[in-house]
Subunit: 385 residues, 2 copies
């Protein structure tokens, strides 16, 4: 794809003043307007909401607005650069949510590495939002933060780096399997990277009946009771993916004979020899940022039936429609069923001759939103007390 790399000066000029603004959706041109949208008229709307708190999302912006929460501990592939330095990413996410999902979004920056602080702060100020997207929070803290907020908040909480990535990964694999006429159950999968994305992908593939799964980190296969480099999230995933600890070797050991490689780890970890050691016509999703575990062309040259990098398998296909669907359905969570529905919708709309549909096609985001809302309506969670 021809793409003249912009200079830093170009990028800074483009980012001058940021990328997001707020805008009034009501008229304010006369004293009469003022008296309706502000005092005294607005007081009657406030009293109505006091009497009918269940109408809150109907008469405020919260019903269509996502809070994008970060503490900046894992911004893109840049690491712990802090929430403020990560703000351009949050604004970018908000632009994507608005442009492709048609929902409003606003960044919330919490400059703290302490998961307790992040959780408590969001619990105190989530009320302006109909949903919370967690973004660029490092593993393993991101798992506890998400779980605790899911438990305590009555609105959807979704860590895009985990589940958004998992949705688009599953979509890519489902579409690839359909094209190849193969079944998920027969696939042995190796995932490289035990951070936010790797763990979520493993859970999602497990829930969707893929065959044997192995998760590898920098120390090789993750297995129950491994002596070093474990944490609660890895222990949980080891029990799900590699229960007897049958696989204990390096990434290269695990890849031999596997059908699918999913990389969310580091540039250059996979060689052509490792791809050749896989089963026939393997799938190679080398999605490390900014450069994949192996270049797509090299994977294809080594026999991959399907190869893609992180630019192709992009979360932006998922989260705009996922949030729109959840907000439209007034869902109180984004359930695994909704995530699977999103992945299937993306896979179904993908062109026969391509890996995924283009996120520039509004039909994708419409299809995702529709599928997600439908999945909530089919399997809603019980109301909170």
């Amino acid at each position: 794809m021809a793409d003249t790399a912009p200079t830093l000066e170009d990028l800074l000029a483009l980012h001058e003043g940021g990328k997001l603004a707020t805008v009034s959706t009501t008229d304010l041109q006369s004293l009469e307007d003022l008296r309706r949208i502000y005092t005294p008229g607005v007081a009657r709307v406030c009293l109505h909401l006091q009497e009918h708190p269940e109408r809150y999302l109907d008469y405020t912006m919260a019903g269509h607005t996502v809070g994008i929460v970060t503490n900046g501990t894992a911004v893109l592939g840049l690491g712990d650069i802090g929430a403020r330095a990560g703000m351009p990413v949050m604004e970018g996410k908000a632009v994507l949510l608005k442009t492709w999902g048609g929902v409003d979004a606003f960044p919330i920056l919490i400059e703290s590495r302490d998961p307790d602080v992040v959780v408590e702060t969001v619990e105190r100020m989530y009320h302006g939002f109909g949903a919370i997207m967690l973004e660029d929070i490092a593993a393993p803290e991101c798992f506890a933060i998400e779980n605790r907020l899911k438990e305590s908040l009555p609105v959807p909480v979704f860590h895009d780096d985990q589940h958004g990535t998992a949705v688009v990964t599953l979509a890519t694999l489902l579409h690839g399997l359909a094209r190849e006429g193969r079944r998920a159950e027969t696939m042995r999968v190796v995932i490289s990277g035990a951070g936010a994305a790797g763990v979520a992908i493993a859970k999602m593939l497990r829930a969707n009946d893929f065959g044997e799964l192995t998760l590898c980190d920098s120390k090789g296969a993750v297995y129950p009771g491994r002596p070093a480099g474990m944490n609660p999230a890895k222990e949980e995933i080891a029990a799900l993916t590699n229960p007897e600890g049958a696989r204990t070797g390096s990434l290269a050991d695990c890849l031999a004979g596997a059908d699918i490689f999913v990389g969310v780890s580091r540039q250059g970890l996979v060689t052509q020899a490792m791809v050749r050691s896989m089963n026939d016509r393997p799938f190679v999703l080398a999605m490390a940022n900014p450069e994949g575990e192996i270049p797509v062309e090299e994977a294809l040259a080594a026999g991959a039936a399907l190869a893609a990098d992180g630019k192709m398998v992009n979360n932006a296909l998922g989260f705009p429609g996922i949030f729109r669907g959840a907000l439209q359905a007034r869902a109180t969570a984004i359930t695994p069923e909704m995530q699977t529905a999103a992945a299937r919708a993306i896979a179904e709309i993908a062109p026969e001759d391509d890996i995924l549909p283009s996120f520039l096609d509004p039909a994708v985001h419409d299809a995702v939103a529709h599928a997600v809302a439908q999945a909530w309506q089919n399997h809603p969670l019980p109301k909170r007390p």
Copy 2:
């Protein structure tokens, strides 16, 4: 003013979906756009901000965005209805800030009556904003909340119910004095209402050399050491306004012989007889919401040279330009000098034959913004360490 009162149904229909949205200020129509505003291009902007944190306000929306913080404990005249029920007011404020001030704003709702929780939450998540407007927080907690945040945050913190009201009150009085050819120093002033607005007005008039000031609450004159109904804010103000406790009687006692009445208390507290007991050609600002301490026509009929209510003396003349000026100047506070400059700018632009200029006139907000920015440049506070 002819004004057909809208029905509740009209108002609810107008508020459907709220009154505020977010909008992208950048193009997102191609893959190339995506790679500039999102990965990989955005990463270079993030790294630039990590190296140059002093450029944060230049390359993010924070530089032109106000956080409107409320806990909903004193929404309009409705009392403690909670932050969510107050959301339509916060959205309304954001609409005014955008439409008249040209600055972006977003509501932050903190459902807690505990000042420590409000302060700590704002301290943790103010980074997305270039300024904080506190709104509809009850006295006396609002004073401590504002003071603590002013101390701890490097961006302006401004409680509009206090200082916005004080600015527009001062503007009204300065314009009235100019019209009448009288001097502030010779004016004896009685303020009714020792909440957020009353205390701020007292301080502002004291700083602007008005004559003897007395603040009254429901127990009459506030004086040092008064046995009942005091709090730290009232003790402070008693020492400033009525230092020897010379005035200890009721509101009616205090008004006899006074030149100016400023009401930010309750409907119907002032009678025509009380206005007649004041000095010649008194000023009567009866600004209680939704109905004043005395109707304007009655005050005029009882001899007032100037009479106005809260609809006429409206904060909306002040805060949009104040925040624009402060953000444009990259001020780290909204100082008393900036507030006085705003009041003078409003008074100077007011028509000879009216109490105040119209807030529908963009020239007012431009003049306020310019005066506020200039006042900061003339008297900036020292940089924080």
